[in-house]
Amino acid sequence: MEEVKQQIQIDTVAGREVLDADRYLIQDGNYVFLNGNTVVRTVPIEDIVEEYDEAGEQTKGIITIFSRT
């Protein structure tokens, strides 16, 4: 089984998910999350819920929670 190199946590109106994904882009009104060249999830932009704390740290939204090479 291929080791996970990166995980991205997303907060949507439906709740929190953790994706095995190492990159994302914006395409046709959606966030497209990929693992390498494989699309693992597509989420409408307006479905992502973002929050920042007083220090400017993002607490909700799209956050890379794990990464290694």
């Binding site: 882009l25 009104g29 939204g61 890379t64 929670i65 794990f66 990464s67 090479t69």
Partner: protein, 456 residues
């Protein structure tokens, strides 16, 4: 005779087959594509082909002293941004702007003795009187520094020689025969023309301006600034011209607009950078896309990398996609800009003395959204406009606009004075980039994810 082994194994280009029955120049596009594929494969970056066609930029390395009592030797790498006219924006007032015309630090600033393993031995926010900032590749960037300390470290470059009359304000001489009485004056000596950044004190307020012209037919002491001052410049006013200084919004806008004019509008990408824990959020997680770890702030429990050494990423992290470009404008650490913003609790406006002072610049929408439009209220005349001097968003949405890199903007309406920082840091993902700006930090703030950059 045996065929020679080809140096490169050219595969059939995707753009189409070579047709050997037509003149060679008709095959240039196909040959170009094939060579680009080879070059891309050599560095392991399939986007490298996008970088090959960007213009080269002139570089220089200064070796000067600072103003410390025991002067430090400063190594400063800089890139010349030539004058150019902006093009490619969907907002007409952002096109045709006369931009560039300055040297900018090639990398984020560092302490004089910074290395790949050490910040350089000085306390970041109290380095000592007169200490100047260096700018070197593959070293620990100078972070944890306030706006005022960063400004001083840059203006300390070259010691007293960095400012006209060693920093002593000098009365302006009126230029009686000019057409711009609020923008023109004569300096006391041509020796005072040490740079392109000037402070003019008029009526008790210090105005920060850029010099757009020095010298004129028959008058070598002539100076014209932009934007003009509130009143005619007289001998009651004083000037201090400064060489090395903190990057201004005009200069930052010039870099972003350079990327638009010479890259984005031709289908190339904006500069990438360390906005995803050592790599760009658009690249896969692989070593060839990563910068080198800054050991002073290495990874944490869940990430192998956070901050990177200056200029240590792939070529795609450079302004022009080449080794001779300006590095790390996207991510790694936020960079203080020479711009302050005041909030009265309701609105943000440009602080007194800065270009566009008093202009309401409260972005629409919600802090943290992405940019869809930039300030464009001042129609350019002969290429001159306040738009690049303000360099703040006027349109925001959840997804933003690819034209502005889907970059983000953050602000705070609590009554205070804030200093702008631009570019992003290692964790801001697609929101980081050359258009990204954050207006939530008071000038005294010091954090490990903010540094600075000089210009001249």
């Amino acid at each position: 005779m045996a065929m020679a082994t080809p140096k490169f194994n050219l595969e059939k280009p995707a753009a189409g087959d070579l047709d050997w029955d037509v003149p060679l120049n008709r095959n240039f596009d196909q040959i170009d594509s094939a060579l680009i594929n080879v070059m891309g494969s050599q560095i392991g970056d399939p986007t490298y082909d996008l970088n090959l066609r960007s213009p080269a930029l002139l570089n220089r390395v200064l070796r000067i002293k600072d103003g410390a009592s025991t002067p430090n030797d400063l190594e400063i790498h800089q890139v010349w941004i030539p004058f150019f006219r902006s093009a490619g924006f969907s907002q007409p007032n952002l096109n045709g702007l006369l931009l560039g015309g300055f040297w900018v630090d090639k990398y984020q600033a560092c302490q004089p003795l910074a290395t790949a393993t050490s910040r350089g031995g000085l306390t970041p926010n109290s380095p000592g009187a007169g200490v100047g900032a260096a700018c070197k590749p593959h070293v620990v960037p100078w972070t944890d520094v306030s706006w005022n300390t960063a400004r001083a470290a840059l203006e300390n470059r070259g010691g007293a020689a960095n400012k006209s009359a060693s920093g002593t304000p000098t009365p302006c001489t009126m230029y009686a025969t000019g057409d711009h009485p609020k923008a023109e004056f004569l300096v006391d000596s041509v020796d005072h023309l040490v740079g392109r950044h000037v402070e003019i004190v008029q009526g008790g307020t210090t105005y920060f301006r850029r010099i757009i012209k020095a010298g004129k037919f028959g008058e070598a002491k002539y100076v014209r600034v932009f934007p003009e001052l509130p009143a005619t410049i007289t001998t009651d006013d004083t000037y201090t011209i400064i060489g090395h200084h903190m990057i201004t919004p005009y200069e930052w806008f010039s870099l972003a607009a350079w990327a638009m004019t010479f890259r984005y509008r031709h289908g190339l990408q904006y500069p990438k950078g360390n906005n995803d824990y050592g790599k760009d959020i658009g690249d896969p997680r692989a070593i060839e896309y990563e910068g080198l770890t800054d050991p002073v702030l290495a990874g944490d429990e869940t990430h192998e990398k956070r901050r990177c050494l200056t200029g240590s990423g792939p070529l795609s992290w450079s302004l022009n996609g080449r080794a001779d470009g300006v590095w790390d404008l996207n991510g790694n650490v936020w960079e203080w800009n020479f711009q302050q913003i005041v909030s009265d609790g309701v609105n943000l406006s440009i602080a007194p003395g800065y270009p566009g002072a008093g202009t309401i610049v409260t972005p629409p929408g919600t802090s943290g959204q992405r940019i869809t439009a930039m300030y464009d209220a001042d129609a350019p005349v002969d290429g001159l406009s306040l738009n690049p001097d303000i360099c703040l968003p006027t349109g925001m949405s959840s997804g933003g606009s690819a034209e502005f890199g889907n970059d983000g903007c953050w602000w705070n309406l609590d009554a205070a004075t804030y200093a702008a920082d631009r570019g992003g840091r290692w964790s801001y993902g697609l929101s980081g980039g050359v258009w990204a700006v954050i207006l939530t930090d008071v000038p005294t703030n010091t954090v490990n994810y903010r540094g600075f950059r000089g210009a001249f």
